[in-house]
């Protein structure tokens, strides 16, 4: 924890950090992009989740799977803009309980995605045609994914309220 603080203080002293906080438009643009990326991520990954849960059965699973790469694009947008926020104001995040929960949920969501592919569930459902029901294991992965991403969103939104971020 001590080294994390030292790192945050060093980060705050860098030119990059100064750049983020001394130009109002950088923070505002990244905020807008962070929400755009969130919508892309949530839309594309959520689409696969609701297909697996059976709430949107009309497309084939392989078709919805093609949206995952766009979800990854949304995630990358949010990773880059998120790093910009952290570089700009590292001290308002390192001690923030909401930020720690957000990171925890993010790691769990990543683990869920990894397991989805590693356990072969993704391959097993790839050939399902429109209106086919998915196996129970796929529904568990989909429900977990929705819960974890909504959790990431919740703790992101709570950054200023549980902690001190803006």
């Amino acid at each position: 924890m001590e080294s994390l603080h030292t790192f945050a203080i060093w980060l705050k002293s860098t030119d990059a950090s100064w750049l983020v906080t001394h130009h109002g438009w950088v923070w505002a643009t990244c905020e807008a992009l962070h929400f755009v990326g969130m919508s892309i991520l949530f839309g594309c990954i959520g689409a696969l989740d609701v297909r697996m849960l059976g709430w949107w059965k009309s497309p084939p699973v392989a078709g919805v799977n093609a949206l995952v790469r766009w979800g990854v694009l949304g995630f990358l947008i949010n990773l880059v803009t998120g790093v910009v926020f952290f570089v700009g104001e590292p001290l308002q995040y390192v001690d923030n309980p909401a930020f720690r929960f957000k990171m925890l949920f993010l790691v769990l969501a990543g683990w869920n995605v990894l397991m989805f592919y590693v356990t072969g569930v993704a391959d097993r459902i790839e050939s399902l045609e429109p209106h086919d029901d998915t196996p129970f294991s796929a529904k568990v992965f989909a429900g977990t994914s929705l819960f974890l991403w909504v959790g990431v969103m919740f703790f992101g939104r709570m950054l200023p309220y549980l902690g001190n971020s803006f």
Binding site: G24, W25, W27, A28, T29, E31, A32, L33, F35, V36, M38, S39, I40, F42, G43, C44, G46, A47, V50, W55, W56, S58, P59, P60, A62, G63, V64, A66, L67, W70, P130, V150, M153, F154, G156, R157, M158, P160, Y161
Partner: protein
């Protein structure tokens, strides 16, 4: 004589041309099926293009439309972001000026709204059901409404082409649920801070963008409903592409404006 010649010579000639183009269509179908099984995901548009190319082999440059719409979409989104950012400085100045003389401009309705017990409870509640929880619901609704729109738009621009266009219709339900959640949570957030929000021109700009964005999505939904009931989608395809680009640009701008409301008030 010439007329007869033409008729006599023309008939078998046009017949052979017909069978030739039929062969070409057969070949295009075979090729499409082959690519389907190789999981190259030919979209209905690629399929239609292959057939139309076989029918009129002399039409050049037809397959550039997809690339062009991508370039237009990316450029428009970038332009929207830049424009909104230029607008920040302008709106920021106007908003600061407006905020400085709120008292003089606040009407009786806004004053009443901000004095209701609901507004005071939203502001003063320390629990998750107060301001922060409503703000979270507003974010969740945004992700649902814009997320569903993004999926529809991406499909219209050629991504995930194995989803049939008709299969997109149930997604609009998620979009409308998200929109209703945001209309309700947005109304509560407005009530909590009515005079200042109403004085912020960026807030009005955001509301206009949302109205246009919802109208665009409603137009898309209507086109899809029409195509499902039997009308050919090919005619409206270009219109749907344009609506998809408009939707992406408008939602991006609406999100940017919404975020900036939080920074200029």
């Amino acid at each position: 004589m010439t007329l007869k010649d033409g008729r006599m010579g023309g008939s078998p000639q046009s017949q052979s041309r017909e069978s030739e183009s039929e062969d070409a269509i057969e070949r295009a179908i075979d090729e499409t099926i082959r690519r389907y099984f190789m999981r190259h995901e030919p979209s209905p548009r690629v399929y239609a293009r292959a057939i139309s190319a076989a029918q009129q082999p002399s039409a050049p440059g037809r397959d550039r439309s997809a690339l062009r719409s991508w370039i237009v979409a990316a450029a428009s989104a970038t332009a929207a972001l830049l424009l909104v950012n230029i607008a920040i400085h302008y709106f920021g100045v106007v908003a600061a000026r407006a905020a400085s003389d709120i008292d003089g401009r606040t009407g009786p309705f806004l004053l009443w709204l901000s004095s209701t017990s609901l507004a005071r409870w939203i502001n003063e509640s320390e629990t998750i059901f107060g301001y922060s929880g409503i703000l979270f619901l507003h974010t969740l609704g945004l992700a649902m409404a814009v997320g569903a729109s993004v999926v529809v738009d991406l499909r219209m621009l050629g991504a995930a082409s194995r989803i049939s266009v008709e299969a997109l219709l149930p997604l609009f339900r998620f979009m409308w649920i998200g929109f209703i959640v945001n209309a309700l949570s947005g109304a509560m957030l407005f009530a909590a801070d009515a005079p200042r929000k109403a004085a912020n021109p960026l807030f009005e700009f955001k509301l206009v963008l949302i109205a246009v964005g919802i109208a665009v999505m409603a137009m898309m939904e209507r086109s899809l409903l029409k195509s499902e009931s039997g009308a050919a989608l090919a005619d409206s395809d270009r219109r749907l592409t344009k609506l998809a680009i408009a939707s992406l640009v408008i939602w991006t701008a609406a999100i940017a404006a919404g975020r900036l409301v939080a920074y200029t008030v």
